[in-house]
Symmetry: C2
Amino acid sequence: MVLWAEKEEILGLFKETPLFSGLTIETQKIFANTAVTCSIPKGQVIYMEENHADFFYIIKKGWVKLFRETFDGTEAVIDILSSSHIFGEFSIFDNGIYSSSAQAVEDSILISLPTSILKEQIEKDPKLAFNMFAVMSRYQRQQDKKIEHLTLQTTSQRIGCFLLRLCPQNQKTDIVIQLPYDKILLASRLGMKPESFSRSLNILRDKTGIRISGARVEIDSISQLTDFSCKGCSSSYPCEDI
Amino acid sequence: MVLWAEKEEILGLFKETPLFSGLTIETQKIFANTAVTCSIPKGQVIYMEENHADFFYIIKKGWVKLFRETFDGTEAVIDILSSSHIFGEFSIFDNGIYSSSAQAVEDSILISLPTSILKEQIEKDPKLAFNMFAVMSRYQRQQDKKIEHLTLQTTSQRIGCFLLRLCPQNQKTDIVIQLPYDKILLASRLGMKPESFSRSLNILRDKTGIRISGARVEIDSISQLTDFSCKGCSSSYPCEDI
DNA sequence: CGAGGGTTTGAAGTGCATCAAATAGTGTGG
DNA sequence: CCACACTATTTGATGCACTTCAAACCCTCG
């Protein structure tokens, strides 16, 4: 099933994903042997909340949105993930059911892996178990911070905070970054409406002196941005790992 | 150091905490031997965010608030915990540093246990590791849901949702419950100001026919409450495990 | 009884959402 | 290369939700 070249590529991808890093080549091969690469067009739903979770996924390319829908049709975006990130893996502790839905928001290439193998190997391989703990704990800190942001930061501060996390950590001045996906999606990722996003971004621009044209953002000096955004947060820049 | 009777009591408490349930008596004793019971008066800080995490805690009695403070002095309440709940344990995957502060909000009795033992034993005892996974994954679902609530529910709906979670699951009508701690704390737990809480509770009363006097809440029929609160949420009553 | 915190209420302001409409940007077929 | 359709984004006007500040009311505990 799995071609040699593809398998090599998959093993390469494993190196970059925290869950698989540092595993023995044997364990890695167990996963690689059951891996299936699939192309998902933009907009396609990968799985639905409450569905039985047979697979978890590594993103090779593209962007994936995790979300949940309420009865009245509105959706809450849990997270938006890109290359070398993994999703659906928590289902193994969740009665084998996905706790959110997943959808490709750009044309994407995913590696699917059976959750059964993950469950099996976690029990056998202490290093894998340790990695899983690390992944979960990291995710947890992220979620905690997200709650803090939603509770305490204004929409403009949240956007500023997001921009700061896109900046290269070593560079302090004359930074140019690109918004990673469209503004509508970004708005929902930050828990606001597109209109609010647009207006809040203008406010942020006026208060911090950044320049925006389309998806391009120029930041002359990080400090104006941190002064504005980080005062409504318990961490100071640079936030280690959000 | 540890008296026999106290040790028995601690082992009894272990049975009720998911992290320790089902462990061999040997493993349990390793923990019990290093356990120290401490009384914490209302208002006392147990540990501060960013501090080195030598201990984690089981609550034997009382209420403990986990929170984080921003630079401008406002605080975000992460969680409020009661008997048989455990806290501070995630620090072992967090560079040995507490990721939030903890404070007793009622006179409380805690069992402190060294994080070093937990770290050691998780590597040795697969059952303990499994329990830890279960605890983390449960916490994760809770946090996800909290984000959803903050994003999609109104303040009144959030209060209704909280009340529903206090109701005994089997009873559908003529329920009387007590708010577990004071309304100021409850407000911050639900991400709102005391004044907003008060007003929103009035709105909830008017819309769902519940009666409130002080901390006492009478609910004639669950269904009015679920109709009002659960429409802004992806789960339906009863929410399994928040 | 009086002090002090918890709780409610009132008035006014802010932030974000909503609805509606204009504008910019992108890809299509001609 | 243009006209068109369609989507993304911005802007304007308005409303609702929540906060803020101030003051009153309660309750309880010394």
